[in-house]
Structures are given as C-alpha cells and as structure tokens.
C-alpha cells in the first residue's frame, strides 16, 4: 500500500514540531533557541499548507502562510538583535547567565 502524501506530510509536521520543542527545552544558547523557534514555525507553516491541500483551499492557506513567514522573520531579527546585545552586556550567550532577571 502506498501511503497518502498528505498523511506523510502530517507525520512529518508532528515530528518537526517535536524536534523544535526539544531544541527549545534542551538548549541554553540564545541563538540556538531562535533556531529551534524557527523550526517550530516551519512546522506550523507546513501544517497550514498541508491543511489547505487536504481541504482544497490552497489559496486561503497560502495567504495565511505568507503572514506567518513575515511575522516569523521579524521575530527572528528582533531575537537575534537581543542576543547580540546580551552577548555584549553579559559576555556570554548562555540563557542561564541572565541571573539578574531571576532575582
């Protein structure tokens, strides 16, 4: 039996979201955290497009996916700028070193 492509893509979306969440949990490097967030967003966009292809409304899903991609890029740019500033002020990219937020 040949697997339906959409089922394959959906399984891939679930696994990709799992990989992204594991990266968010396991990493302490600020730039690595943004990489993990990008992977999670990629899974969301893939899920949108797969849902559009499954329901026959690919154009509606495309317009939503474009919004997600734009917002995601802005978030990545601001996050990377924040990471660079943290490196300048604290001397390291380790999220655990931001102790002044904890106290």
């Amino acid at each position: 039996m040949i697997l339906d492509p959409l089922i394959l893509v959906t399984a891939g979306v679930c696994l990709l979201a799992g990989v992204g969440l594991y990266g968010l949990l396991a990493s302490r490097n600020l730039i690595k955290l943004i990489v993990a967030m990008q992977i999670l967003t990629k899974a969301a966009v893939l899920a949108l497009v797969a849902a559009g292809a499954a329901s026959g409304r690919i154009n509606l899903s495309q317009s939503l996916a474009i919004t997600v991609i734009v917002v995601d890029t802005v978030v990545a740019a601001v996050g990377l700028a924040l990471g660079v500033q943290v490196r300048k002020r604290f001397g390291s990219l380790d999220a655990a070193n931001l102790a002044s937020l904890r106290r």
């Binding site: 492509p5 317009s63 474009i66 802005v74 700028a81």
Partner: protein
C-alpha cells in the same frame, strides 16, 4: 516516494540543526530545512509560498543568522540543559502523540469548491492583515535599530558638535 524522501530530509536537517555544536553549522542546517520545505510547498501546490520561503527562509534569515553569529561569536556550549533530559523527552513525545491524535480526524475527502485566487484573498479579503503586517515590519526594523545602535559617548558627541 518523493514526498517521503523530502519529509525525511527535513527531519534530518532539523535534528542536525538542533544537535550541531557550532552555531554556524546550526544556521546552515536551518537553511537546509527551509530549502527542503520550499520544495515540499511546491509539491503540495503552494507555489507562491514556496518562492517566498525560498527567498526569505533560505536567503534573508540565513544572512541574519550569519551576521548575528559573526558579531556574537561562535562559542561551543556543552553545558547541561536546564530541563532534565528525560523530562524533555517525555514532554516532546507527548506533544508528538497529541498532535498526531488531533490531526488524524482532519482527513476527509475534499469537495472541490470554487476558490478565489491567492492574490484576491491577500489583497481584498485580508487587506487588514496586510496593513498589520506592514506596521509589524516597521516596528521590527525600529526595534532592531534601537537594539543595535551604539550610544554616543559624551566626549564624542561634543567632538561631533564642535566639528559641525
């Protein structure tokens, strides 16, 4: 078959991006994830999104990452994660199972509906969204400028004032 190969490639690139020790390698594997998902978008029939993903995801975001890594330094970090590894694995597994359980009832036979073209949807139905997006891009640019701009020291400011 081709779908399976592309999906497997995306997962492999994502795992390598998470586990890579060097940040630069991590950014390059992320670009691989973007490129392969652009191929997948094209195969699913979403051509506009494929082009935008290819130009923004592979081009712009990778350039942003390389720029940030070149400023912040590519330090290898092997510190222990804050969340215990077992707990993380359990959380991730439960997320994957939950997502799969929620996604499976979504498969129904699609009834062909007459649909607007994507430009019509984007510019007419969702015009408000576009305005919000444009203002969001402006806000993003302003915050990046604010975060990355250097404070002018008083001595240098006086020097500048004296020169002009």
């Amino acid at each position: 078959m081709l779908f399976g190969l592309v999906v497997a490639g995306i997962i492999l690139c994502a795992v390598l991006a998470i586990t890579a020790n060097r940040l630069l390698a991590s950014a390059i594997w992320l670009a691989g994830v973007s490129a392969l998902s652009a191929i997948l978008f094209y195969m699913l029939g979403a051509r506009e999104v494929a082009v935008i993903e290819l130009s923004i995801g592979v081009g712009l975001v990778t350039v942003l990452f390389v720029f940030a890594i070149s400023i912040a330094g590519d330090e290898a970090m092997n510190a222990k994660p804050l969340v215990p590894r077992i707990l993380g694995m359990v959380l991730v597994l439960s997320l994957v199972v939950l997502l799969g359980w929620m996604a499976v009832p979504g498969f129904r036979t699609a009834d062909p509906t007459t649909e607007l073209t994507s430009t019509d949807i984007l510019w007419e139905v969702r015009g408000m969204d576009l305005i919000v997006q444009v203002s969001l891009i402006f806000a993003g640019v302003l915050s990046v400028l604010g975060l990355l701009s250097e404070k002018i020291l008083p001595a240098r400011a006086a020097e500048k004032g004296g020169r002009s």
